[in-house]
């Protein structure tokens, strides 16, 4: 229980840290009143605008108002799109979430069996191939992988669309394949490497020898006993994973012209559209935070050793 309380407190601190960074950075960019008004605006006009934006109040008060706005999803209006930010994000979040979930599903479906294969076939051909792909996935930059996939599968082989979002009524899955692979590759690399090395460690452990001695089939030993134990370190990877997935999805959305939040974020960065920037950052930051919190809590549920160690402290 103490462990859980500590983790919750840490998440809260991190959230405050995020908000302070976003607040300081967006305020350091200059007073919105001055950014939005024409340069020849009179002093009275500037004063009136500052009052409207609240930038004439002390910083602490502004920060409190900022936190309240973020908490109540009151993000203001986009400077570029002249639309409420909430509406802008709501129109794009579905595309982003469905893409990232597709990528995560793809990783789980491929990395788990291939990680097991690499560990059981150690130093043989399947192991070498899987490790080669993982080394490539770790090193190749996502934006370049995306472009090369387009070149190969869309331009040359003309098998899949080069990008964009499926129109209503169109068959959707071909549009997901290439961007999902782009996001999945570094995650696949990290997970197969981790699964392989932690499985290799437990393949010689006493509990595995016992399971074999009990006469269980080798398949059952590997897939149930060894894999379940090897999955524990993978759970701690999830926090880093989500960060990689978020970054990867921004890049993939840009490369594949995917109408998601990542694409909106980059165009807002380039246009210095701060209401959108701070809303997207707060959203993504909170997502990363909740995911890593969930991973840690899951760890407590799955691994009783942590519960005992934390209780004894």
């Amino acid at each position: 229980m103490r462990y859980v309380a500590g983790r919750l407190l840490q998440s809260l601190l991190t959230l405050i840290f995020f908000l302070v960074v976003i607040f300081v950075a967006t305020r350091a960019a200059g007073d919105p009143a001055q950014l939005l008004l024409p340069p020849d605006a009179s002093l009275e006009e500037v004063q009136a605008a500052r009052q409207r934006f609240g930038t004439d109040r002390p910083y602490l008060e502004q920060f409190a108002a900022f936190v309240k706005d973020m908490a109540t999803l009151n993000f203001g209006r986009s400077v570029v799109h002249r639309e409420p930010v909430t509406q802008l994000i709501a129109g794009r979040i579905g595309a982003s979430v469905s893409l990232v979930l597709t990528a995560v599903l793809l990783v789980l479906l491929t990395a788990v069996p291939l990680g097991v294969l690499a560990a059981t076939q150690r130093a043989r051909l399947p192991d070498r191939v899987v490790r080669g792909v993982a080394a490539f996935g770790q090193a190749a930059p996502g934006f370049w992988v995306g472009l090369m996939l387009i070149d190969l599968f869309a331009v040359r082989l003309q098998l899949l669309p080069a990008g964009g979002y499926p129109a209503d009524g169109a068959i959707a899955w071909p549009y997901y394949v290439l961007p999902a692979i782009t996001i999945a590759l570094p995650l696949f690399a990290a997970l197969t490497r981790l699964l392989r090395s932690s499985m290799l460690e437990s393949l010689d452990a006493e509990f595995v020898k016992l399971a074999r001695a009990k006469g269980l089939s080798e398949r059952r030993v590997v897939w149930v006993h060894v894999l379940r134990n090897a999955f524990l370190p993978a759970i701690t990877l999830i926090a880093i994973w989500i960060g990689t997935a978020v970054t990867g999805s921004v890049v993939a959305e840009v490369v594949f012209n995917w109408p998601g939040v990542g694409n909106l974020f980059l165009s807002s960065i380039l246009a210095r559209d701060f209401p959108v920037i701070q809303a997207v950052l707060a959203l993504l930051g909170t997502t990363v935070l909740l995911a890593s919190l969930a991973a840690d809590l899951l760890y407590v549920v799955v691994d009783p050793r942590i519960r005992i160690a934390a209780g004894a402290r």
């Binding site: 967006t26 930059p141 890049v251 980059l266």
Partner: protein
């Protein structure tokens, strides 16, 4: 048994020392045998490009030649003057890749330097003093680690404008945290050892204990982690340049070259392919060298990554 051994030449102490020395020599030989020669050679080549790129480039990387624009690589029907082809302004792709090594390596070295020094010092202090200082520092580190690096860099690019400074500040702001956490863990156990206690009893000031007595014992960890991070930093820099939030033109950077080739993907595949290969090759080499260093210098770190 012990009595018999005393009679032997050199005695047990010398025997143990000899064995230890033999084992150390074996270990060194084993390490050298697995030396990742190919990745090291690749890195040496790229470092040379970063140092003396303008002299290595076969042609002027900025010279435009509109007659020879979008010329394919030499083996794919292009002219032998442009081994890897030319871009939309007729600039030589190979020369631009060679010259483009410098910004990548400058960013990598500066951020690794800043992040490395900060992370090491902060980790030393947090581990040594413990208690409240440690708690506060580690909460900050945990927060910094969970902030997605690229997003922070993009935010800074919007605020202070894209450029080398933005990239360096953004990456070092987060790089210190991972290092500090690991160093702190090492210091926690090191400070209980006798040599630290002896130094304290002898009246050595805390900063001297940390720098002279503790630091040398964590240097292996620092070197391994920073080598593994070099690849990460080069990838982040390339991604930012690709997104238009890194080092702005006219300085040629690999990420920006890949981005420039995007519009010509269906006609001039070489524009994006080769700079991307350069990025991937450098990152792969740093990863392989880092893995080897870790196994050689600090096998315990295997758990941490």
């Amino acid at each position: 048994m012990a009595i018999e051994q005393v009679g032997q030449v050199g005695g047990p102490a010398a025997l143990a020392e000899g064995l230890g020395r033999q084992r150390a020599a074996e270990r060194a030989w084993e390490g050298a045998r697995r030396l990742p020669a190919l990745p090291l050679a690749v890195l040496a080549l790229f470092v040379a490009m970063a140092l003396v790129g303008p002299w290595m480039a076969p042609l002027d990387p900025d010279a435009t030649d509109l007659v020879a624009r979008l010329s394919p690589p030499a083996w794919a029907g292009g002219s032998p003057d442009h081994l890897l082809g030319t871009d939309r302004l007729g600039r030589d792709v190979l020369s631009r890749i060679i010259v483009g090594a410098r910004p990548s390596f400058v960013v990598a070295l500066v951020t690794i330097g800043v992040g490395g020094v900060l992370g090491t010092l902060i980790g030393l202090v947090a581990g040594y003093f413990g208690g409240r200082v440690d708690a506060v520092i580690m909460r900050f580190a945990d927060s910094a680690i969970s902030f997605p690096l690229i997003l922070l860099a993009l935010l800074l690019a919007a605020v202070i404008g894209p450029g080398i400074l933005t990239v360096v500040v953004a990456i070092s702001l987060l790089l210190w945290a991972r290092l500090a956490r690991l160093i702190r863990g090492e210091v926690l156990s090191l400070k209980e050892r006798d040599f630290v206690a002896l130094a304290r009893v002898a009246g050595v000031p805390w900063w001297r204990i940390l720098l002279v007595h503790v630091l040398p014992n964590v240097l292996n960890t620092v070197v391994v982690l920073l080598t593994l991070d070099l690849g990460l930093v080069i990838g982040v820099e390339a991604t930012l340049s690709f997104l238009g939030a890194g080092i702005p033109p006219p300085t040629p950077t690999w990420g920006q070259m890949v981005a420039d080739g995007r519009a010509y993907l269906s006609t001039a595949w070489w524009l994006s392919l080769f700079p991307g290969l350069a990025i991937g090759l450098v990152i792969l080499s740093f990863n392989l060298v880092g893995d080897w260093l870790r196994d050689y210098l600090d096998p315990r770190l295997r758990e941490a990554r």
